[in-house]
């Protein structure tokens, strides 16, 4: 196996060619979002769009610009489960200091709808996600990319530029949507479009080994 290069926008063909265990280097513009961001996207954008059955959907005036921007940024890109440590330079520009992944499973209730609604090609985090996200990956052409837990300095170094930030004042620094340009962000595919999850496979195999070792 070799390292696969992925560049945003990621095509559906590219993501469907990936398999669990593939090592990937991701480059391009991606967006961070964790607990507050996921709840907000579902409650403010996804649900009103579903219930109103109108175009444009019933989204509050003050949120329309963020919605437009997020739709534009996220289509063909990934959302990164990360609460970064950031620093603001004197001229006002932001930079990432430490930016390791946070545990993804907390977003399981939201992620399938977000993948579908925003046209995500992937989710980046750690620890893996559940069966609903796995199904959404298959149905809509997305993958779960596992970043290396604890690799905070390296990932911050892969962030070439902080382009902008949305909802920072409302959600605070760790929970905001940071739009960043990354280069060669090292990732491993652990859930793919073919219904495979390394997390399920490893848990089952290690359960069998445990049974053998403890003699039960």
């Amino acid at each position: 196996m070799s390292v696969k290069e992925l560049t945003v926008p990621i095509s559906e063909d590219a993501v469907r060619s990936l398999h669990v265990g593939d090592t990937v280097r991701l480059s391009g513009v991606i967006v961070t979002g964790r607990d507050a961001a996921h709840k907000y996207m579902i409650e403010t954008f996804v649900h009103p769009s579903k219930s109103a059955r109108q175009d444009p959907p019933a989204i509050p005036d003050g949120e329309r610009e963020v919605y437009r921007e997020l739709k534009r940024r996220l289509r063909g890109s990934v959302i990164y489960h990360c609460g970064p440590v950031v620093r603001q330079r004197e001229e006002g520009r932001w930079e990432f200091v430490a930016a390791g992944p946070t545990t993804s499973i907390r977003e399981e209730v939201y992620e399938p709808d977000i993948i579908e609604h925003f046209g995500l090609r992937g989710v980046v985090g750690k620890g893996g996600m559940g069966p609903d996200t796995l199904r959404a990956c298959r149905d809509h052409g997305a993958a779960y990319f596992h970043a290396v837990g604890g690799a905070a300095s390296l990932i911050a170094d892969a962030v070439q530029e902080v382009i902008t930030v949305y909802k920072k004042d409302a959600f605070g620094v760790p929970e905001a949507f940071w739009v960043i340009r990354v280069e060669d962000f090292p990732l491993v595919v652990t859930m793919d479009t073919h219904g495979e999850s390394i997390h399920d496979q490893v848990e089952m195999a290690s359960q069998a080994a445990l049974d053998r070792l403890v003699g039960s």
């Binding site: 596992h146 604890g150 390394i198 080994a209 039960s216």
Partner: protein
Amino acid sequence: MDNLTESFVELIRRAATDLPSDVEAALRDARDREVSGSGAEGALNTILENVAIARQNGTPICQDTGVPIFYLNVPRAAQEGCISTQDLRGQIEAAVVKATEQAYLRPNAVDPVTGRNSGNNLGKGFPSFHFQEWDEDYLRAELLLKGGGSENVSTQVKLPHAPLDAGRDLDGVRKVVLDAVYQAQGKGCAPGVLGVAIGSDRGGGYVHAKEQLFRPLDDTNPEPELMKLEERLLRECNELGIGPMGFGGKTTVFGVKVGAYHRLPASYFVSIAYMCWACRRAAMTVHGEEVTFK
């Protein structure tokens, strides 16, 4: 003995931004053993690159700098070179505040009642201190930075433990340790190091389990029975195949250190401190004016 605040800032900086050489070497060996091109190898390569970058930039290896845990051996009172543990505590607290300002430590002390983060890593029982007098005429301070992911998968089991048919003996200990590593999967940021305390009471069990994490990886247990248990557990934990980050692979843990402590007749606890790959421990000794870091 001079005011040691600046020396403790340096101890914290070293712990947060660099790995002990034995740990880094073990991660390199683990990388070399994994299948070329596998996710496990990729994760270990990323880990090793991250360590090099953190060292070079002087930035934290991991953004979760955990609870700073200090173990201090101090000269006996009334002995040459003695120092009040109360003074020492004050100097270490000042050092923790400074190290937080200098971004070597993330502010991690959260009040569970109000939800407020103190912002400077000081709080009730935060950082964690363990003082002990000893017969030497110098001070030895050890620091462990242990993050939340690995702390969350640490566990304590009371033997006998029926679900695993684990009795009150070393084979029972072996079974519950293997189960703890299985339960953790990759969530403690594998590959990890296990500090295990057999016996003691519940509180002492975790304190001693974390003490075991200070032993160098190549340190062999002087107790033959425990040495055999450590070797067997290291081999069998890796047979679980969980691998780096839980991707599957050959190295799930790269160290198992076990200590045995007297227990109550009615209690037989096994306390398992799971340490992530970022096994950030550092030590310093103070002989009079001379401060040495290890």
